[in-house]
C-alpha cells in the first residue's frame, strides 16, 4: 500500500523527467544531418496558417483592453501624454509573448499533438523506427524549429496589431491625441524590450512544440488516447509557458534597468 502511494506521488516526477529527456533528445537531433528542410517548410507553413488569423483577432482586443485599462488609470494621474508609452510597454513586453504563447500552444501545439498522436496509434511511428528512421529527427526537430520561427513572427504580429488596436481605441474612444500617443512611444519603452519579447517567443515556441510532440508520441489506447494527449499537451504547455514567462520577465528586469525619463 505504501509503495502504491509512493508510485502515485512520484509519477509526475517521472513524467517530468521523461519530458526533459525527450527535450534533450530533440536538442541533440537539432545538430544531426541530414536536416529535413522540406518537412520544416511544410510545418512552418502549416503552423503559420492555423495561427495567423486567430492571433491577429486576439491581438486587437488585447491592445484595446490595455489601452482602456491603462488609459483610465493614467487619466486619473493626469499623465495622458504617456498613454502611448504605457500601451507599447505592456503590449511589447507582456501581451505579445503571452498572446503568442496562447496561440502557439492552443492552435499550433494541439495540431502537432493530434498529428503525432494519430501517427502513433496507427503504428506509423513504429513503422518509421523499423524502417531505420528516427522519428525525433525526421518529424519532431522540423516541427520544433518551425514552431520557434512562427512564434517569433507571431510575436511581431501581436505587437504591431496590439499597438495599432491600442492607438485606435485611445484616439477614437478615449479622446486621446494621435500625436501624443505616438510621440510618447519611446518615453518608457526601449529596444531591449523588443529583444526580450523575441527571446520569449523563441523559447515559448520551443516549449510548446516539444511538449506537444512528447504528448503526441506517447499517446496510447486508441482514439481516446489521442484526445487525451492533445488535452494534456495544451494544459501542460500553458502551465509551463506562464511559469517561464514569469521567470524570464524577472531575469529581464534584473539584467536591463528600466528607462527613466
Amino acid at each position: 500500500m505504501a509503495s502504491l502511494t509512493a508510485t502515485r506521488v512520484l509519477a509526475p516526477v517521472g513524467t517530468a523527467g521523461k519530458l526533459f529527456a525527450f527535450a534533450l533528445d530533440v536538442l541533440r537531433g537539432l545538430f544531426r544531418r541530414p536536416f529535413q528542410l522540406r518537412e520544416f517548410i511544410q510545418q512552418a507553413w502549416f503552423i503559420a496558417s492555423v495561427t495567423i488569423i486567430p492571433t491577429a483577432l486576439v491581438a486587437i482586443p488585447f491592445g484595446a483592453v490595455i489601452a482602456l485599462q491603462a488609459g483610465g488609470l493614467i487619466k486619473q494621474f493626469g499623465a495622458q501624454s504617456f498613454t502611448g508609452s504605457a500601451s507599447v510597454l505592456a503590449v511589447v513586453r507582456e501581451a505579445g509573448p503571452i498572446a503568442t504563447a496562447l496561440l502557439i500552444a492552443g492552435a499550433g501545439g494541439s495540431a502537432i499533438a493530434a498529428d503525432l498522436g494519430a501517427r502513433k496509434i496507427r503504428e506509423e511511428l513504429d513503422a518509421m523506427m523499423v524502417l531505420g528512421i528516427d522519428p525525433i529527427q525526421r518529424l519532431v526537430v522540423p516541427r520544433v524549429l518551425a514552431c520557434m520561427l512562427v512564434a517569433v513572427f507571431l510575436n511581431g504580429l501581436v505587437s504591431v496589431v496590439g499597438v495599432a488596436g491600442g492607438y485606435v481605441f485611445n484616439v477614437i474612444m478615449q479622446g486621446g491625441t494621435p500625436g501624443a500617443y505616438i510621440a510618447s512611444f519611446t518615453a518608457l519603452a526601449q529596444l531591449p524590450d523588443v529583444w526580450q519579447g523575441l527571446a520569449k517567443a523563441l523559447v515559448f515556441g520551443m516549449i510548446a512544440a516539444i511538449v506537444a510532440s512528447y504528448m503526441g508520441m506517447n499517446a496510447g489506447g486508441g482514439p481516446k488516447g489521442v484526445g487525451d494527449a492533445v488535452n494534456l499537451s495544451v494544459v501542460i504547455t500553458f502551465l509551463l509557458l506562464f511559469l517561464v514567462n514569469f521567470v524570464m520577465s524577472a531575469i529581464y528586469f534584473q539584467l536591463v534597468p528600466p528607462k527613466t525619463g
Partner: protein, 321 residues
C-alpha cells in the same frame, strides 16, 4: 538468404503484469514460422521486442551476432535494415500516396536514382497486386489493400527477416487465402525468414513450417507444423482445433469446477493434418519438407485422412470433424 533469429530466456512485464516469461526459440533461417495464442497473450509484444521497439526485462534476441535486447541505439538502427515488418493495419504514412510510401525506405536509405526507385517500387507493387492504385492515399483504399501496400513497403529493401502482425485481421476468407498464398510464394522467391503472428487457425494449419503457441504467460510449445498438429498436449490440441473443451477458458484459464465438469467428456478426435500450401509456381520452397516426414521420423501416427490432396478443404469443418 534469410538469417536465424535466436531468442533466449526472453521475459517481459508491464509494471506488475507479467506478459510472458522465459521464451526460448529459434526461428530457422528461410523458414516460415507462425506464433499464435489466445487474444491478449502478448503475441504482438513478442514481435515488437524482436525489432527492439519494446525492451524485454531479461533475455536476448540474437540476429547475426547482435543482441537486439542490449545493443546500442546505433546498432539497433543498423540491424533493423535486415527487417521488413508488416503492421496490423499496414501502418502506411497517411500524408503520402502509396507510391511515396513504398518508395520511402529507398529514398531515405539508398542513393538510387528516381527512375531506379520507380522500377523497384513498381516491381513490388506488382508483386502484391496493387498496380493502378499507386497514387491513391492510404485513407482512400480498403483495409486489405492497405495491408498489401504495407507488405510492398516491407519488401522494398529486400529484407532477410519478415515479421507480419495479424495479416488476416479484418480480411475476408478469400483475401486471407490470397495473402497466405502470397506469403508462401514470397518465401519461395526471397528465402527470407518469416514470422507471422496470428490467431487464425485455418492459416496456421496450412502455411507455416513451424508453429509456436503462447499461452498462460509462457511459450507452451514450439516446433515443426506436424508436431503441433498431431500433438495430444491439451492446450495445443484445444487451440489448434478451436474447441471449447480443454484448459483454455473465456478468461484465460478455466477454474477447477469447470475443469472437473469436463473431466468425463471425451475429446473430439484430432482432425487430419492438411497438406502444406505449395508455391503457385509449383517449385517447392527450399525449406519445405515432404508431407508426413516429421511424423515418420518421430514414429507418430498422424490422424487418419492426413496429407490427402482433398484434406485441405476438411479444415474448414474442424469443429464438427
Amino acid at each position: 538468404m534469410g538469417v536465424d533469429v535466436t531468442i533466449e530466456g526472453l521475459t517481459k512485464s508491464f509494471g506488475k503484469q507479467l506478459i510472458w516469461k522465459d521464451v526460448t526459440l529459434t526461428l530457422p533461417a528461410g523458414e516460415i514460422s507462425v506464433m499464435l495464442g489466445p487474444s491478449g497473450t502478448g503475441k504482438s509484444v513478442l514481435l515488437k521486442s524482436l525489432i527492439g521497439l519494446i525492451k524485454p526485462d531479461a533475455g536476448s534476441v540474437v540476429i547475426e551476432g547482435v543482441d537486439i535486447a542490449s545493443c546500442s541505439e546505433k546498432q539497433l538502427y543498423e540491424v533493423r535494415k535486415l527487417f521488413g515488418v508488416l503492421f496490423q493495419d499496414g501502418a502506411m504514412f497517411g500524408s503520402m500516396n502509396l507510391f511515396d510510401n513504398v518508395a520511402f525506405p529507398l529514398r531515405e536509405h539508398t542513393r538510387k536514382s528516381e527512375s531506379e526507385i520507380r522500377r523497384i517500387v513498381m516491381e513490388k507493387m506488382d508483386l502484391v497486386g496493387l498496380i493502378g492504385a499507386e497514387y491513391k492515399l492510404p485513407g482512400e483504399i480498403s483495409g486489405g489493400m492497405r495491408k498489401r501496400a504495407g507488405l510492398a513497403r516491407a519488401l522494398v529493401l529486400d529484407p532477410e527477416i519478415l515479421l507480419i502482425d495479424e495479416p488476416d485481421s479484418g480480411l475476408d476468407p478469400v483475401r486471407t487465402s490470397f495473402i497466405n498464398q502470397l506469403f508462401v510464394d514470397l518465401n519461395a522467391q526471397i528465402d527470407a525468414t518469416f514470422l507471422i503472428v496470428t490467431h487464425d487457425i485455418h492459416s496456421v494449419r496450412v502455411v507455416p513450417d513451424n508453429i509456436g503457441l503462447l499461452y498462460h504467460k509462457h511459450l507452451a510449445m514450439y516446433g515443426p507444423r506436424e508436431m503441433l498438429l498431431s500433438s495430444d498436449e491439451p492446450v495445443v490440441r484445444q487451440f489448434l482445433n478451436a474447441q471449447t473443451i480443454g484448459p483454455i477458458g473465456m478468461s484465460e484459464e478455466k477454474d477447477a469446477d469447470q475443469l472437473a465438469a469436463e473431466r468425463d467428456l471425451d475429446l473430439p478426435p484430432l482432425p487430419p493434418i492438411p497438406l502444406q500450401l505449395e508455391p503457385s509456381s509449383g517449385i517447392p520452397r527450399r525449406s519445405q519438407r515432404p508431407p508426413g516426414e516429421w511424423c515418420r521420423l518421430h514414429g507418430v501416427t498422424p490422424p487418419p485422412g492426413s496429407f490427402r490432396a482433398d484434406s485441405a478443404l476438411v479444415t474448414t469443418g474442424v469443429g464438427g470433424a
